[in-house]
Symmetry: C2
Subunit: 241 residues, 2 copies
Amino acid sequence: MLNTEYRLSGERFSHPLFESAPALWQAVLPSLRRKIFSRHAQVVVHGDAAASLWLVSSGWLKLTRQTPDGKESVVGLCTAGDVFGEAALFSHANYPYTAEVVGDEAELIAVPAATIRSLIQKEPQLSARIMELLNERTSQAQLKLEHMNTMSAAQRLGCFLLRLCHLQVGGAKTLQIPVEKHVLAAYLGMKPETLSRSQQQLRPLGIQITGHTIEIAQVEKLRDFVCGSCSESGSCDAEAD
Amino acid sequence: MLNTEYRLSGERFSHPLFESAPALWQAVLPSLRRKIFSRHAQVVVHGDAAASLWLVSSGWLKLTRQTPDGKESVVGLCTAGDVFGEAALFSHANYPYTAEVVGDEAELIAVPAATIRSLIQKEPQLSARIMELLNERTSQAQLKLEHMNTMSAAQRLGCFLLRLCHLQVGGAKTLQIPVEKHVLAAYLGMKPETLSRSQQQLRPLGIQITGHTIEIAQVEKLRDFVCGSCSESGSCDAEAD
């Protein structure tokens, strides 16, 4: 499952978590490992001791949990720039989900729990950044909850696409989302057939979905369709170009 | 709206946020103000500069946001032991919701943003506690999202009641929830008529709802009904006695 593991070379890569603190990145670098996982690899398993914080360099992962009565719940979809495994920040904590690679492979950076915890003790700047990260995460989850009540399924799909557009460097508007339809539907809180209908509803707005490729002709048009029903309107990352 | 404001006297009160750090509580005490707000008072307003972190001593508040197309979204319900206004932890941040007193009155403690931010810089123990708080908040929001897909409306109402049972000192199982039905319904992500139906569905489990008073005959029975559909089952606070 784990194909390769090697030390980081230094200058080649950083991560949004350390973006404002290059000195900290240099300090943490020797403890980090870059790992490449293949499709379906389980990077962490729900209930295991949280040994690392994970930074995603490329690829896609789904974060899932099982209910006792046998349903799978998709609590997250992660791609380049995302972080998961925050449980590693806390002593004696376990991962609250299983993280599995979807798509061909994923490149991750593991920050050992001991490294990040000792850094937090010494570096208020990193603590502050991590608090921001945790707070953004809460805001995102609360906003998704809001959208379950205030938005249509097509608008929720549109919001998800707008966020991905924003992540893209250079503003290109062709997205690759190698996530199976039933997984994406579960993540968005809808049935697969509702997702299909939502995709059709977005077509008149110039959104073409072919397999895992999504082309968005006019982001502005999608934004008009989505953001009027969101209380974050005006202060949301996904609205910026 | 604000009836009274006074300094804290010291020993009379603490808060879960500072529970493991009595020395820190003593240090922060001189900067704190206890404030009593009457029904419908807006303690903070969405978009205002986040000047304080708020600790709830008693009473109930709803946290709401407005969408541009005129819907109200209830993003939180707070009562004794809860914290809101975490935006105050971050510089130049605004409150992401309006907090309004529901029920007769609420007693709150305001921790000035400058106080909490300077404490975080100096006290890794407090940073760690706040990170835990933010992480719990994310987990709660993600769990609520999961429940939207895996639980019935009656189970979601049951889960909300179980959490309140757990907050109660001494394990008494009579709850007072002075929250209007349409607000509670919005918070739980359902229509008011669905909330009414859900209340009826809980009756055979020994749950009597009369106005704002809820009596729960056997918590164990409610737990059996709710927790089998939750991926947190086995590690949830609300399951403990």
